[in-house]
C-alpha cells in the first residue's frame, strides 16, 4: 500500500479547499486512485486559518486524517507557522514565496512560487490557488498533467475554464523553467555541446 498525505493551508477565501478538491478529484476520478479529502476551518467565513488534508492511496483510505504529510503546501505565513513542523523530514515543502518565508531544512525538497504575482499577471489574483495547483502538480507528478488539467476544467465555475487553465499552465510552466526537466535539459545540452 502506498499512501501519500498532503496538507494545504492558507487564509479562508484563498481557495485552499478548492485546490485540495481538485487534487482529490484528479486522483479519484481522473486517475482511479483512492483519495479522501478532509477540510478544517474556523467558524469565520473569510480570513481565518484554513486547511485541507488529503490522503491518496492505491487501496481504500480508512483513517482520513493525516499524521506527518509527505507534501505541505503553504499559502500563508499563519498556516506555515502552524503546520510546518509536522512535515516529514524528507517531505516536500511548497510555498507562496512572496507570502511565506520558510526556514529551509537540509534534506527537505523545497519549492517556492510567486503564485499571487503570476495570477495578477493573468489579470485576476483570485486564480492564485490554481497557479499554485499547477505548480504543485508539476512538482509532485502525483497524477499526469492531463489528469490534473482535466480536473481543473471540470471543477471551476462554468465560463471561467480558460482563465483557470491559463493559471494552471502558468504554475506548471514556472516549475519547468525554475526547477524542472527543461532547465536540466537545457543545462545538459549546454554541457554535452561543450
Amino acid at each position: 500500500m502506498s499512501r501519500t498525505e498532503i496538507r494545504i493551508t492558507g487564509f479562508g477565501g484563498q481557495g485552499v479547499v478548492l485546490s485540495g478538491y481538485i487534487i482529490g478529484r484528479a486522483c479519484a476520478i481522473q486517475a482511479g486512485k483512492h483519495a479522501t479529502m478532509i477540510q478544517s476551518f474556523g467558524p469565520e467565513a473569510r480570513g481565518s486559518a484554513c486547511s485541507t488534508m488529503l490522503a491518496v492511496s492505491d487501496t481504500e483510505v480508512l483513517y482520513p486524517y493525516i499524521g506527518r504529510p509527505d507534501v505541505f503546501v503553504a499559502m500563508s505565513t499563519e498556516g506555515y507557522d502552524k503546520y510546518a513542523d509536522e512535515l516529514k523530514d524528507d517531505g516536500t515543502l511548497i510555498y507562496e514565496q512572496n507570502l511565506v518565508h520558510p526556514t529551509l531544512k537540509e534534506g527537505q525538497p523545497s519549492f517556492g512560487v510567486p503564485s499571487t504575482r503570476l495570477a495578477e499577471q493573468l489579470g485576476r489574483a483570485i486564480v492564485q490557488n490554481i497557479v499554485m495547483l499547477g505548480f504543485v502538480a508539476a512538482v509532485t507528478k502525483m497524477v499526469t498533467h492531463a489528469e490534473m488539467r482535466g480536473a481543473v476544467e471540470a471543477s471551476v465555475p462554468p465560463g471561467t475554464e480558460a482563465l483557470n487553465l491559463a493559471a494552471f499552465d502558468a504554475g506548471w510552466d514556472y516549475y519547468e523553467q525554475e526547477y524542472g526537466d527543461k532547465k536540466g535539459e537545457a543545462a545538459a545540452a549546454a554541457s554535452s555541446g561543450a
Binding site: Y21, I29, H34, A35, Q39, F41, P43, L62, Y63
Partner: protein
Amino acid sequence: MKADPAGVLTGAHYLDGDFACGEGAMAAGCRFTAGYPITPSTEVVERISRRFPMMGGTFVQMEDELASMAAVVGASWTGTKSFTVTSGPGFSLMMENIGLAVMMETPCVVVNVQRGGPSTGLPTMTGQADMMQARWGSHGDYELIAMSPQSPQEAFDLTIDAFNLAELYRVPVLFMMDECVGHMTEKVVIPPADEIEIVPRKLTKSKPGDFEPYRANGQMVPEFARAGDGYRFHTTGLTHDERGYPEMSAECQDKLVRRLMDKINGNADKIVRFEEEDTDGADVVVLSYGITARVAREGIDLAREKGVKVGVIRLIVVWPFPEKRIRELAGTVKAIVVPEINYGQMVLEVERCAAGRCASVCVPHGGGGVHDPSDICDAIMGAVK
C-alpha cells in the same frame, strides 16, 4: 418503482458527505425541504436549493428549526417526500415535532450532521454524541429508525434507504451523519435512475366513505390519504382512534402506542442492518458506526498484528439496535469494545444486551476529532487480558 431520472445525477463524482446526502435525497424522490442553516449541515441544502428548481422541488428557508420540522410534516401530508437537515442545537429544537411525526405516522427524514456538543459546542468539528438523543429525544414512548453512514458513498446510498424505510413504516427516519463524514470528500458513484429502487407512498384505494386514516386492517402500517384527495381528514398529536379523532382513554392509548412501537419492533429483523466480519472464534468484537468504524479498522489491524482474534460489527441501522445478534455474540467473546465519539452511548445498549455475559468496553472520545487508532488497539489489548 424506479427513481425519477430528473433527480438522479448519474455518474462518478467527487463529493463530500453533505452533498452526497443531498443527491441521495433527490434521487429518492424528495421534492420538499425546509431548513434553517447550521454548520456542518448547511451544504446539504446548498446543494438541494441549487438543484431543486430543475426537478420541480421546493426549498424553504424557515425562521427556525421548530418551524422547519413542522413544515416537513405538513409537506409530507400532501404526499410529497420531505426532509430537513440540521446539527446538534437544531436537532434539539426539532424534537417536539419529530414526536408529532411519530404520532401522526408521517413519513419523513431528518438529517443530523453531528458536531461536538452540548449546546453550540464545536460548530465545525465532529461528534457522535446525539445517538441516544436520536432514540429518546422526544417525549413519550415511541420507536423510530436511525442510520449512520461511514462515507460519502454511503451518505448517498443510505439516504435513499432512509426515505424508503420512512415510507414503508410511516415513521421519521433519523440520518445520523457525523461532521467528519459530512465534510469528507471522496468518489461517489451515482447509478442510473432505473437501477435505484424507490418505495412510493402507499395510498389507500378505499372509497372516501369507507376510509379511516388510522385503521390498520391487521397490518401494522395504515394506508395513506393525502390532504386534499377528498377523503375525510383528521390527524392530531393527541391520542386518537382509527378515525384520527382524539380519544382520551387508557385503552385507546394502549392500542395506538403499542402499534406504533410494534410496527418497528415487530419488523426489527427486516430493518436492522449491520456488517459483520471475523466474529467466528473471535476473542473480542469491536462494534462501531459512522466515521469511527473506519478509524477502528486501523486499531483492529494493530491488535491483530499482536495476535488477538478481533471480530467486527459495523452498525448501519443504529436504531433499532441488533439486539439478537449482540446477545448471541456476548456468549462467545470475552469483550465487546465500543469506540464512539462520545463518553459512552451505544455502549450502554451493548451492555444491556450482553447482560454481564461478556465485558462491554467503552472507548470514549469527547469530540472535535477522531480516535487515535492506537487507543482502540490498547482497549482491545486490555480487554483480552
